[in-house]
Structure formats: structure tokens, C-alpha cells
């Protein structure tokens, strides 16, 4: 029998796992894209919605290597859920994800000190590490020089200098990954001797008593050392021995005049500064004015900054609502023709109705928003990759703070205008749990694109002969009502449920860089896949359920609108009527509302069935039907007041199963999504009630 080499991961495993780690803005994702090309997939880490980006390198000799793109982080002492994933994977504590065999640390060469901080934390874990020194072109442009060999020598790891967005150094990195990288377990930096000897006690305790791998004990110990009493009590609940040991060390350090909060961080930076002497040469002289400085002078200018910001936002929404019309029409006619084909091919019956009226209409109604979502993510990708997004947050922070939010809440809120799902997920970059939760709770109040068809049809009924700009103005008004509501609610949450002591806003302002077309496209592609998956799963199932509720029990002899009245959904609508009558709605609108709790856009298709509109998606027919609709006593149903009340209900109500599911996953409990449903729906009800009843009192109708 041939001898195995159990200790050499490179020989006993066919597929290796390489993790890419690095600071945000270090170009990590560009390296990932360059390494793996299109061989990527985006999934989720189990239990959290942090995206797991996995790719593969295939070599000429058919060997395969898995590459994992970890979320960007500044430190392994983590603050946000995103960063926690990076830490857990590197510590080998992530379920379903093997501990990486090699870590490639992507380092922004223009920002060596701070990038090497994370590197040195990873190095402490004893994993084999390679440094990819990115953005070397910018270093040269700035008239600086890095001695790569000397750097490799002082850091005891292979260093590859490259420029990821020109694919420089990528081949070299690929071949280095495939050969041999020795693990090195020797820590390169030291704290003052008395601290070292005390920390060793804690390491032994963690190893012997708690069974932590020996190589991880140091990293764990210094993280614990820096924590204050309150945090320690939280994370060390039920680990009394460790707690006492940490507190004893902290007390000793305080007695010796050493700050236990900063000693490890300062020692590490000291080591980095010493190591870089002789490696890094900078031409001395006057401070250079970089391109970034010049752009920032304009972009964050008191007046110019706002004009650019508002201009960009206006341009983005203009594109979302105009350019998208053509592909949306195409998608619409595609689904109609599929539906037509099915009608021709299949014999009439329940199954055919299920496929055309349930599945195709339901899924088609969601897929139609894909163009808008793609355009939104094109903009977000461009704004993020150029570095502008950080400036937008910089400008907006003061305003957002008025509501107890902060600059980083800006991206989630902006994304929510397309769809609350990416919005809720984007809140992951917010470190403070309470700020993050507040953002998640109010994000769905931003008018998403699923509300658009609802607004459009009601506005058409409300203002039949109005000009396009008048309709657009009313639409814009609804958006502002949602934004205003979000600010007020955020303010209320921050003052009551989610009061937190310190709002924290520490954010890097990265240099402006030209975005890589490829990376932006990849980003859009990922979004499209995620969105379509949702349409293919959640919406698919819901469409079938909803169709069933509106179809059964069957009454073939009745007209379709009469049959609908007898269906489960129709009966539910009737049951609901007393509750919604004060808002100006009858049972038929009630059915629309019930359908909308799955997804708002379902309102339009449900209404088409309720009012017996044969050809789906023809708004004009539906508008006429709405205009004619009346209460049993002959009064018009869709009065101006009812229209306004209904639109406001759609602005505020939580009507999206997919968002509920995502909030449930993001907050890891049912508590918050349920609370969100209750508060938003109550808010919607109260606002619509106040407007309708108030309007009646004032003599409107």
C-alpha cells in the first residue's frame, strides 16, 4: 500500500480551497473575477444571507482549485455580519465551508500600513498565506517604490506584485497557488514581554479547557484581551474560567500602566512600520495633489456636491423609468405569446388555466421588473466601483442622522427603490446591530418598482386626461411620501425600541478609480440570477396558491367575476369588507389587497380577473372598468378620495412575502419580520383611514 501524506493538503486532496481575503476597496473582487473568469456561483453561507462567492480555477492538467471570495474586512475582530463570515471561514468555524488551504491576501499597495494589519492577523492563524500586492501601477504613478523581494523577506510569505484590473500578476498567482506554499506558524510580531507571558496563560486555558486549536488560541486571546467588561460578560457567558483569566490579565496590565485596549493593535502597527522601513520609498517633497483630491473638491463641495448628487439620482431614476420600457414591453409580449401558445396547444381545463392564469401570469408579472433592477444595479455598481458611493454617504450622513440613521443606510435605502430585497441585504455593511435593524425595518417604505404598476393604474383612473408630467409629478409625490414615512418611522424606532448610545460612522473614502466594465457586468449578472431564482421559486409557488384561492371552489355556470366572488379569495374579500370600508374600499379591492400581501404587483392581475378583463396587461381596459365600477347603491367606487387612500395604502403597507422571508433570514428570527408586517400595515391603515375620513369630512368625495 502506498504511503499517504496526511499532513500535506496539496497532495492528499484533489480540490483545494483558496480564500481571497482583504480590505474593502483592495480590488479583491477584481482578482477573484480575473482568477475564475465566468466559473463562479453565488450562494449563501448556511444560516446567514451573506453571499458566498465561490469560483473555480481549472489548470491545463485538469486539476481544479476552489476559490472563495470572502467579504472585505479591515480586521478579524469583527463588527458586522459580513466581516463575521470572513473571520469564521478563516478560523474554520463556518458550517459547510472547509477551512481554506491557502489564503491569498489582496493588499492595496497604495495603502500598505492598514492593509498589512489584516494580513498580519491572518498570518497569526498559521495558514499558508500569499500576498497579492495590487494596484502597483498607482504606486509608480505616485512616484513611490516598493521593494517586493524585501517585503516578501520581512513578511516571510510569497509576494506577487500585480495590477488586477489589467490582469497583471494573475497568471503568476495562479501557478503559485497550484504549487507549494508552506504554512508558517511563527508569529512575526511581539507585544511587550510581560504582556506576552500573561497572554500565554490565556492561550493555554483556551486550548486545554475549551479545545480551541492551538494555532488559533493567540488570535482569540488578543481579541478577548481588548474587550471591555460588558462585552466580555456577553461573549463569555458560561465560560467563567476564561472570563476571570481575561479580567485578571487586564487588571495586571492596567497596574503596569499598559492599555489593554490598544496594546495589541499598537504593537502590530509598530511591527508593520518597522518592517516597511527599507521596503517602501517615497519621494520626499511637497504634498502631491492627487486626482482624487481634485475630484473631491468638486464632488463634496457645499453647492456643487449637492448638484452632482441630485443630478446623478435624477439621471438614475430617469433611466430606470424610461430605458426600461422597451425591454419590459418585450418581456410582456413574450409571456403573452407563451400564454397564447399554451392556450392553443393544451386542451381547456384546470391545468391549462393554472399554467396560463397562475404560473405564467404570476411569474411574468415579476420577471417584467428585471430590466429596472438591472439598470439600478448598473448604476449602483458604477457608483460603488468608482468610489462615488462613499461620497454620497459622506454628503448624506448629516441628513440621515436627523432620522437616527447614518450615511451607510443610504445604499440600502437607494437599492430599495428597485426592490426591498437587495436593500435589506445591503444593510449588512452597517456595523451597529440597532442601526442595521432600523434600516431594515424602514427600507420597504421606499417605493419599490413593484408598486409602480399599482400607482400607474390608479393614477390613470384618478387623472384620466392628465398630461404625462402631471402623472409623473403625482408619482414623484408618492415616492416622497414613502421617504418621509421612512424618516419618521426611523426616528421613532431610534427613540424607542432601538435606542443606541453611540451612532458610529467610520467609513473609508477610497480613491476614485475607473470601474472595470467586466466587474460591473458580473455584478449585474449576479443580481439577475438572484432575482430570477426568486421568481422561479417563491413567486412561482405563490402564484399557484393564489390562483387556487381565486379559482376554487369552482362554479362553472357562473360568470367569471361571479365565480370569483364565490371563491375562497372572494369570500375572504367579503369578510374583509367591513374592515376596509372606512378606507373607501369594497370587497373587490379587498381581493386585490389579499393578493397583494404576496406581492404588490399582483394587484393589477387580480383586478383584471375581478373585473373580468379578458386580455391581460391591457391597462386601458382595466382603467375603464375601474371608472365604471360602483357600489351596490350606484355610487362610484373609485372616487378621487378612494384612489388617494388606496395609493397611500400601497405606499406604506408591507405586501411582499419575499421581503418578509429575507428580513427573517437577515435578522435570524420571526420577531422582526412580524413586527414589520404589523407596524407597516397598521401605519398604512391609519394613514388611509385618516385621509379618507378626513377628506369626507372636508366635503371631498
Amino acid at each position: 500500500m502506498p504511503e499517504a501524506f496526511p499532513n500535506n493538503p496539496l497532495q492528499d486532496k484533489k480540490i483545494l480551497t483558496v480564500a481571497l481575503a482583504g480590505n474593502p476597496n483592495s480590488g479583491k473582487t477584481t482578482v477573484f473575477n480575473a482568477l475564475t473568469k465566468m466559473r463562479q456561483k453565488v450562494g449563501n453561507y448556511s444560516g446567514v444571507t451573506v453571499e458566498k462567492k465561490l469560483g473555480r480555477i481549472i489548470y491545463e492538467d485538469h486539476r481544479e482549485i476552489n476559490v472563495l471570495d470572502l467579504p472585505g474586512t479591515y480586521s478579524l475582530d469583527v463588527r458586522s455580519p459580513d466581516e463575521k463570515v470572513a473571520r469564521d471561514v478563516l478560523f474554520g468555524q463556518m458550517k459547510d465551508t472547509p477551512r481554506p488551504d491557502i489564503v491569498v491576501c489582496v493588499v492595496d499597495a497604495t495603502n500598505l500600513d492598514r492593509n498589512l494589519y489584516l494580513f498580519s492577523q491572518i498570518k497569526d492563524l498559521g495558514l499558508p498565506v500569499i500576498i497579492f500586492l495590487n494596484m502597483m501601477d498607482e504606486v509608480k504613478e505616485q512616484g513611490k517604490n516598493i521593494d517586493v523581494q524585501a517585503l516578501s523577506h520581512v513578511l516571510h510569505v510569497p509576494v506577487i506584485a500585480g495590477v488586477a484590473n489589467q490582469e497583471k500578476g494573475i497568471e503568476e498567482l495562479k501557478s503559485l497557488i497550484s504549487t507549494d506554499v508552506a504554512p508558517a506558524d511563527r508569529r512575526l510580531w511581539r507585544m511587550p514581554e510581560q504582556v506576552e507571558s500573561r497572554i500565554e496563560e490565556l492561550m493555554i486555558l483556551l486550548w486545554r479547557e475549551e479545545g480551541l486549536a492551538k494555532s488559533d488560541t493567540f488570535s482569540e486571546a488578543i481579541i478577548l484581551l481588548s474587550k471591555d467588561d460588558k462585552t466580555l460578560k456577553e461573549i463569555l457567558r458560561g465560560r467563567q474560567k476564561v472570563y476571570e483569566c481575561v479580567r485578571a490579565i487586564q487588571n495586571d496590565l492596567t497596574e503596569w500602566g499598559i492599555n489593554w485596549r490598544s496594546v495589541a493593535i499598537e504593537s502590530r502597527y509598530d511591527w508593520i512600520s518597522k518592517s516597511l522601513k527599507g521596503v517602501f520609498q517615497e519621494k520626499s517633497g511637497a504634498r502631491q495633489i492627487t486626482a482624487t483630491d481634485r475630484i473631491d473638491a468638486v464632488v463634496t463641495h457645499k453647492i456643487g456636491g449637492w448638484m452632482i448628487f441630485l443630478g446623478l439620482m435624477a439621471l438614475m431614476f430617469y433611466c430606470i423609468f424610461t430605458i426600461s420600457v422597451y425591454p419590459m414591453d418585450a418581456i410582456d409580449s413574450f409571456f403573452s405569446s407563451v400564454s397564447g401558445v399554451v392556450k392553443n396547444v393544451m386542451p381547456a381545463g384546470d391545468l391549462r388555466d393554472l399554467i396560463t392564469g397562475g404560473v405564467i401570469a404570476g411569474v411574468g408579472g415579476v420577471v417584467i421588473f428585471l430590466p429596472q433592477i438591472l439598470i439600478l444595479f448598473l448604476f449602483i455598481g458604477l457608483l460603488q466601483d468608482t468610489g462615488y458611493m462613499a461620497r454620497a454617504a459622506f454628503i448624506m450622513d448629516r441628513l440621515m442622522r436627523g432620522a437616527g440613521l447614518h450615511g451607510k443606510s443610504f445604499i440600502p435605502m437607494l437599492s430599495s427603490f428597485a426592490c426591498a430585497i437587495p436593500g435589506v441585504m445591503a444593510a449588512r455593511t452597517i456595523e451597529s446591530p440597532k442601526d442595521r435593524l432600523t434600516t431594515i425595518l424602514v427600507a420597504p417604505l421606499m417605493s419599490c418598482s413593484a408598486r409602480l404598476p399599482v400607482y400607474t393604474i390608479i393614477i390613470a383612473v384618478l387623472l384620466p386626461g392628465a398630461l404625462a408630467w402631471q402623472k409623473a409629478g403625482l408619482m414623484l409625490g408618492l415616492y416622497w411620501v414613502g421617504i418621509f414615512g421612512a424618516f419618521v418611522m426611523a426616528m421613532i424606532f431610534k427613540k424607542t425600541l432601538l435606542r443606541s448610545e453611540t451612532p458610529v460612522f467610520i467609513m473609508e473614502l477610497p480613491p476614485y478609480r475607473l470601474p472595470l466594465f467586466k466587474d460591473v457586468m458580473m455584478h449585474m449578472w449576479e443580481r439577475a440570477v438572484i432575482f430570477l431564482k426568486r421568481a422561479g421559486t417563491v413567486i412561482f409557488v405563490l402564484s399557484i396558491i393564489l390562483w387556487g384561492l381565486m379559482t376554487y371552489p369552482k362554479h362553472d355556470h357562473l360568470s367569471s367575476s361571479e365565480a370569483l366572488k364565490q371563491s375562497i379569495a372572494g369570500q375572504a374579500g367579503l369578510l374583509l369588507e367591513p374592515v376596509i370600508k372606512p378606507l373607501g374600499y369594497d370587497w373587490r379591492i379587498g381581493i386585490g389587497l389579499i393578493g397583494s400581501f404576496a406581492a404588490r404587483e399582483v394587484f393589477v392581475s387580480t383586478m383584471s380577473i375581478v373585473f373580468n378583463i379578458e386580455s391581460e396587461g391591457e391597462d386601458d381596459h382595466l382603467r375603464e372598468a375601474f371608472a365604471k365600477a360602483a357600489w351596490p347603491d350606484g355610487r362610484a367606487l373609485f372616487t378621487p378620495l378612494t384612489c388617494i387612500s388606496l395609493m397611500l395604502f400601497y405606499v406604506f403597507a408591507m405586501q411582499c412575502i419575499s421581503t418578509v422571508a429575507v428580513v427573517r433570514r437577515e435578522t435570524n428570527s420571526w420577531r422582526w419580520p412580524l413586527f414589520q408586517i404589523v407596524y407597516m400595515t397598521t401605519l398604512a391603515y391609519l394613514v388611509s383611514l385618516a385621509v379618507y375620513q378626513g377628506g369626507l369630512l372636508l366635503g371631498f368625495h
Binding site: Y74, S75, R261, D296, G305, D397, P503, V504, I506
Partner: protein, 79 residues
């Protein structure tokens, strides 16, 4: 040598970090971002509404709120 909070510096003024006052997890992250004793720090600009602040440290730009800058004590060379 005078020691003042970073938030009291004017645009373009440079100082040396003396101390980051204890402020929960905030001070920890400031330290990790390289704002430690002995590091030169400079105020680059204020946001259009006067807050937050764009500072330069270790060759990169960081955005902080005035409240957060209040806890960073810097020394100014008296020239």
C-alpha cells in the same frame, strides 16, 4: 505642544495622534484603522453640511463624525 481634540482642527491643519479616548467599540475600530499614538493626521475637508469630516491618515482618507473626532486627542507642533 498643545493637546486638543481632532474636531477642533481647521481644514488643512495637521496634528499627531496622542490618544484615542475610550468609547466602546468605536475607539477599538479607530485604533484598528491605524489611528494610534504617534500617527500624523490631517483634516482635509468637512462635508457640505459641516459634518462628517474627511481626514487623512497613513495616506488614506477616512470619514468620521465630529462626535467621533472629539475622542481623538492630537498634539500640534507650536510653530
Amino acid at each position: 505642544m498643545s493637546k486638543i481634540p481632532l474636531s477642533q482642527l481647521v481644514v488643512g491643519q495637521k496634528g499627531i495622534v496622542e490618544e484615542v479616548l475610550e468609547h466602546g467599540f468605536l475607539s477599538q475600530r479607530l485604533l484598528e484603522m491605524g489611528i494610534i499614538r504617534g500617527t500624523p493626521i490631517e483634516i482635509i475637508r468637512f462635508a457640505p453640511m459641516g459634518d462628517p469630516i474627511d481626514i487623512k491618515i497613513r495616506g488614506y482618507h477616512l470619514s468620521l463624525r465630529r462626535d467621533e473626532a472629539l475622542g481623538i486627542i492630537v498634539s500640534l507642533s507650536d510653530q
